[in-house]
């Protein structure tokens, strides 16, 4: 009796060890899939951009000021696309950053619990609305409104796209700044009040500087989101790559160009087709750089309060 018990115990031990090893390696493979995704992205972008850079020199691509990829005479200078993206990024940043930071200060320093319970979910809903909906909203809601103010504005324009991109990144700025402000310990605020400061003075001169690393990091993340934003700018900002700083005109961003090539009937294997990967690679590098920068800011400049 005792013998059989030890025997079966030994057998099940062996089996359970096998199960242990199998689950462990299975789980590890799943975790590895995300690393493979990164390698996949880098591999695809490099491999498919090579045929493009065999025809178009890298310097022409980086410093050329004319982008005319789809019709003859072709020209592949990425500056106009980059400029289009920058107009959107700057425009949306100018709108979203002040509003986002102000809402965050209000929510964390002034607002009652009841107000927070209303505003926070609204921000979450705004963050959850699909980008194609914002594109539609820009095209049919914002642009006609802008037309009432200024009749010169074209149907596709950078301004209305900037406005909806701002609405899109605003919740992120507001909630990340709110988290950063809330992480500032109470004692700092009470010190400010004890010296006779008003609530605004404490907020602006004590709390915001103390949370600055988190606030700046949220701005950088918002910048990266705005660069990668696709559908709203594809629908609302137009498809004319152009070197302009006038937000009332139609432009084209890097993302909108990628959509145009991938969904249009461009011959697979032509230079125009491969230009998609050069632009995509550039987009990937810029957003990766912005994300790494935001991590660094958070890590390096975080104030520690223990």
């Amino acid at each position: 009796m005792a013998e059989t018990a030890t025997f079966s115990l030994g057998k099940s031990k062996k089996r359970s060890r096998w199960i242990e090893e199998a689950t462990r390696s299975g789980f590890f493979l799943c975790a590895l899939a995300s690393v493979l995704t990164t390698f996949g992205i880098v591999f695809v972008l490099i491999r498919e951009a090579i045929p493009f850079f065999q025809v178009v020199p890298l310097t022409d691509f980086l410093f050329g000021t004319r982008w005319n990829a789809l019709i003859e005479p072709r020209s592949f200078g990425v500056i106009p696309l980059l400029m289009g993206t920058m107009i959107i990024v700057i425009g949306s940043g100018l709108i979203a950053i002040p509003i986002g930071l102000a809402s965050a200060i209000y929510l964390s320093e002034f607002a009652s619990d009841r107000t927070r319970k209303i505003v926070k979910p609204v921000l979450e809903i705004l963050a959850g609305i699909p980008t194609v909906v914002y594109g539609y909203f820009a095209l049919t809601g914002i642009t006609p409104l802008l037309k009432l103010i200024n009749d010169d504005i074209s149907v596709f324009n950078a301004l209305s796209a900037s406005i909806v991109v701002a609405v899109m990144i605003l919740p992120m700025v507001a909630s990340l700044c709110d988290d950063a402000l809330k992480a500032v310990p109470r004692a700092l605020r009470e010190g400010g009040f004890a010296l006779g400061s008003t609530k605004t003075e404490v907020s602006l001169k004590v709390v915001v500087p103390a949370a600055l690393s988190g606030i700046v990091a949220s701005f950088v993340l918002a910048f990266s989101r705005a660069i990668g934003e696709t559908m709203a700018v594809t629908l609302a900002a137009g498809a004319t790559p152009k070197l302009t700083m006038n937000p009332l005109e139609s432009i084209q961003t890097m993302t909108a160009y990628i959509v145009q090539v991938a969904t249009g009937d461009i011959e697979h294997g032509s230079v125009s087709y491969y230009s998609l990967y050069a632009v995509g690679g550039m987009l990937f590098l810029i957003t990766l750089g912005a994300n790494l920068l935001s991590h660094r800011i958070l890590k390096k400049y975080r104030e520690q309060y223990e």
């Binding site: 242990e20 799943c30 209000y106 008003t198 609530k199 912005a290």
Partner: protein, 296 residues
């Protein structure tokens, strides 16, 4: 001393008044900007519902897309979205949860695992259109799946995996260590501990994260457009290798049309999409609230 308190110097007094005024002004500005967010949401919803409400009908849900606005519907797009999301869920949930379990329960602190963690954080910040490029090149062309449900679902899987992993890790981290220790003390193996104790305890949190990630995947337009828009599809897919169209693609196509009727159709499509998202998010919030109550 008491006289100086009763009548402070007039300069000081005026400064205080000015400071109080600035303070309340600042507060009101911030309050206004916060409420502005609600105003924007209200404007957006009113705009969409007023443009699209009359187009939403039973026929709208069951007709295929058409060149004629009054016959157009989004049956194939709706079914396409369901196919894509179910396929995505079948691949992404097991992979994401297993990755999270590995990182939380099994991984030792070494270079490789740190690298995996940093990598996942960075992937969450990659723009969705880059996943579209990856999906188009890898799944549609290299692996020759074509513009199919499978290619779209795999692309969305890669896109939402980081989100699912991060949310699941949070849920697993929240399981108290005492549960694991008691399981081990009773002689359970790690496999038994993880599957019989940790995973069930973390399940509500994981489900909330998964549903939110899937609802994000439903609304993602750019990657699915890059993978699937090559084909003009009128029929609902009947297998994972069929071509597809999806709600966001259909909305995009209608929104690009010049005719004002299509504007109404696009708004109608958006209403259907928003109702779908709203339902999923409500379920997620319901699960979250239920478990919060049970824990407290």
């Amino acid at each position: 001393m008491s006289t100086s308190q009763a009548t402070p110097p007039s300069e000081f007094n005026s400064a205080l008044e000015r400071r109080r005024f600035t303070s309340s002004l600042f507060k009101n500005c911030c309050a206004f900007l916060s409420w502005l967010c609600i105003g924007i949401l209200g404007f957006l919803l009113v705009h969409i519902f007023s443009a699209g409400w009359e187009w939403v009908s039973f026929d709208f849900l069951k007709n295929p897309p058409s060149r004629m606005p009054h016959k157009a519907g989004l049956f194939s797009a709706f079914m396409g979205t369901i196919w894509i999301i179910v396929t995505t869920a079948c691949i992404a949930i097991p992979m994401g949860v297993c990755s999270a379990l590995y990182l939380e329960e099994y991984a030792r602190k070494n270079r490789l695992n740190t690298f995996i963690e940093i990598n996942i954080a960075n992937l969450a910040g990659v723009p969705s259109i880059v996943y579209g490029i990856l999906g188009l090149t890898l799944f549609v062309r290299f692996l020759k799946f074509g513009p199919s449900v499978l290619a779209g679902a795999l692309t969305l899987t890669l896109l939402i995996l980081p989100v699912i992993i991060i949310a699941s890790r949070e849920a697993i981290k929240a399981v108290p260590p005492s549960i694991r220790l008691s399981a081990y003390a009773l002689g359970a193996t790690q496999f038994q501990t993880v599957f019989h104790h940790v995973l069930p305890a973390a399940l509500p949190g994981i489900m909330t994260g998964v549903i939110l990630a899937l609802s994000r995947a439903i609304g993602e337009t750019a990657p699915i457009l890059m993978v699937g828009a090559v084909a003009y599809v009128r029929k609902a897919p009947s297998g994972i290798l069929d071509g597809f169209t999806a709600l966001p693609i259909q909305i995009y196509n209608w929104a690009r049309e010049a005719k004002p009727e299509f504007e109404g159709l696009a708004a109608g499509g958006i209403i259907v999409l928003l109702v779908l998202l709203f339902t999923m998010n409500s379920i997620a919030i319901l699960i979250r609230n239920k478990t919060q109550k049970a824990q407290s």
